[in-house]
Amino acid sequence: MLDMTTKDVKVREALRVNPCKTCQPVGAMYAALGVAKCMPHSHGSQGCCSYHRTVLSRHFKEPAIASSSSFTEGASVFGGKSNLSTSAKNIFDMYNPDVIAVHTTCLSETIGDDLSSFIMDLELPDGKLVVHTNTPSYVGSHINGFFNMMIGFMNYLTKKTGTPTGKTAVFPGWVNPGDIRELKRIAAQMNVPAVFFPDQSGVLDAPMTGRYEFYPEGGTTLDEIRTLGDSDGLIALGEIIGVEPAEALNKKCKVPYTLLPLPVGVAYTDQYVLALRKQSRTEVPAALEEERGRLVDLMLDSSQYTSGKKVAIFGDPDIVIGLTSLALEMGMVPKYVITGTPKEEFTRKVTELFEKYGATDCKAKASADLFELHQWIKNEPVDLLIGSTYGKQIARAEDIPFIRAGFPVLDRYGGPLLPVVGYNGGVLLVEKIVGALLDKFDRTCAEEDFEIVL
């Protein structure tokens, strides 16, 4: 496995090997799937749409709907205006969504299609909408696509009317449906009426009923997006993915926001709970405090097996920052922490965490790839690897216990239903981490060192 990867790290300026990111449009598609009765639409050639639906279906093990402008060479030369208008007509005729959320691709961006004017010229059925965002694949990563689509929706729909909704807006960032359910549950426990945007719960974890629903029950409604401007404040989760949509809403509607790290682990979940307490001005209920206590108890109980253990964490910036914080809480050494997304803010945040816990000799890097991470590991090994499915190659090559978290996880089932966020998500993660470390010990230790009780 990965036999050609050597220890010899060379500076690369042009060749990306085994990437730790993908392109913007899939993020836009995922965000749009978190809007009720929305058809995500890929304005480019068919392959993009096919690839994005495929990766989403493989991660969630669910249908992921989206349509394409199906560019041919002609459209690439003359522009994709008629492709878009034909698409809009057919989509409303055949699939009848409330809204079509168009994102661009590197193709339509390179030829300079002006989506705003194309959409203005569309003849739409009554009450139907088309929104768009620009998602050039050659800028940023899928993370940009996700927040750009959120901003696209707000640009088209959100207005401040001056009549408060009495609800707090929460931007959960790029998380799984299981995470959104947990974040909502905590908000409810904290007595905070909240609107989550986007919200893929219900959509990408739809129950089996024997009836296929093209638009499963779920998703942020268009009315909820329209009234985000009248929210009673905004909690944006994920400092990297959340900042731009939070700024956009603040700029457009003067909604004050609290930008927080993704609530993974104790400290970051505490921050979420504190922010909710500020919204509802109610005390933290005993039940929630008990959840917290159980997680801390678990960390203390198992700390002898995690303290000082070296871990490499890779993936999308916000979940990686969260996982790094959790690893440090568990006394682990986050030896290598990388994201493929080109955001230097990531490196700063992770370095701050290193400093906070006095972790030395640890590396954080944005715009990195898995080939480089593997080379680092070859030079100085780690005890555990945490990240997306693609880490399994490294885990096998180097015989490292491996935990799947983040996007995409293509080779396991049930993950998207379970949270990594909140105290309960923390419990699930600690259980997995300790289990993975001890499974390896049980499998590889000398027979005389084998323990029944640990």
């Binding site: 990965l2 085994n18 990437p19 392109c23 249908p63 698409s87 694949s137 050659y138």
Partner: protein
Amino acid sequence: MSGNERELLETLVKRVANGPSGTHIKDKLLDNYSAKVYKNRKEHVIQLEEGVENQSIAANTRTIPGIMTARGCCYAGCKGVVVGPLKDVCVITHGPIGCGFYSWGTRRNRAKPDEHTDKNFVTYCFSTDMQEPDIVFGGEKKLEKAIEEAMELFSPKCIMICSTCPVGLIGDDVQAVARRTEEKYGIKAIGYSCEGYKGVSQSGGHHIANNGLMRYVIGTGDKKPKTKFSVNVLGEYNIGGDGWEEVRILKRCGIEVLNLFTGDASVESLKSAHLAHLNLVMCHRSINYIAEMMKTKYGLDWLKVNFIGVEATCKTLREIAKYFNDPALTKKVEEVIADETAAIKDDMDHYRAKLTGKTAGIFSGGSRSHHYQALLRDLGMKTVIAGYEFAHRDDYEGRDVIPTIKEDADNKNIESITVKPDEKLYHERYTAQQIADLKSGEEGIELDTYDGMIPEMCAGDVVVDDYNHFETDALIKTVKPDIFLSGIKDKHSIQKAGVSSRQIHSYDYSGPYSGFRGAVIFARDVAMAIYTNAWQLVTPPWKHEPMLTGKIAEEGKNA
């Protein structure tokens, strides 16, 4: 097939032809379309009619925007299908990161290093990860730098460059970069202009990849076969190890497999592919260009084979034997068939008993919807819906229609290269008359031609070209087959509708499904999909049982 089974099949055919409510399925499918879409789609959806021969279908034309097609793009056909599996090649995707990322390890073209290759690149993803300045100022420099870095890190013997959409638009010349790479490093380098927007589907990408392999790889080696019965298996991508099962069977028969194209293949080995004695063609759609060009250039015949299905595999082996016309080989083939079919008989009988009378739908890329009908027949099952993403009319109707296919602007954009007989290497095994004889009659073999899928289907069956979500959904509701074999984009919606679904592109990570042993694995998987216990749990008990039991309380009193 027993009389009973035949009767059952005929009943099924009638049931499907009439539809559950007596209406024609084709009309049901198309009824809800607008006039414009209807006009287009009615040519792509046909229901086979009793006594009508040569029913025609429209194919390989532009997809209607917005329709939710299953199709992918030209890059996916070139890099993802044909070029990606080459294990000794450093395939660099030139473009923004997505295309390389999505095609990284996601197709199950299994490969292991062999005597031709010391390196296996298939677990890696290489991309130039183009950024905005590369789009604005051109990406050739970055591509050349990436090649330099790849040489330094991996020193591959061959580099292939696959272009993504922006590359052609900004005018990067990947062929020129490939030529410079060859000069600078003394290795083989091939540039493919397989931008996603070219053609109408993956099919254009297959053709472009075929052209590149024909131009620059095949015919450049001189490694002779070791035996007098050597073959290449074209259009075998070794999904789930299918190719390895075929190699196992052919080897038992005394037939040497020089190359699988391109599953588990290496450029090093493909170079000498022209020295084979016969080409076998599995996936007609993706590789018929090479088969045809090798016939023209080297005189090498090709035989359309099908290793999917027990009967089909037996037929294929007998046709190969017939082609080589060697008594010892023919005898050996019969021995192998007897031995292999005996070994799987009990298993096949077991699964046939569970599956006889079940119906299936298949939507695949470009040949499997035909191949798998044979295997389903072995199991007593009937395929009532079959469709392709990117097939051409010849895949449906047979190659005889090729001269009548009209080229449109989209097809013309895909280069079609012509080759001439090679002065030194052209060698015909048989004269034209001998070939005609081999092909003629009841026992004639499918040599240098392909008769297509439709002739093997029955009246009432529905054939859909460039299938989309809308039609798939309607078919599932109308026909309610017992199992639907399709891709990941459909799988979960089909299953949510209560119909078993398995991926026929990836085999849902199972396989091999080819040959004799593969047939048993497929049978097991289909039976598992249909009978898995969780299907019984879909409806909660409280939907059937009343909430209240016992006596209803009298008014004013507690029960």
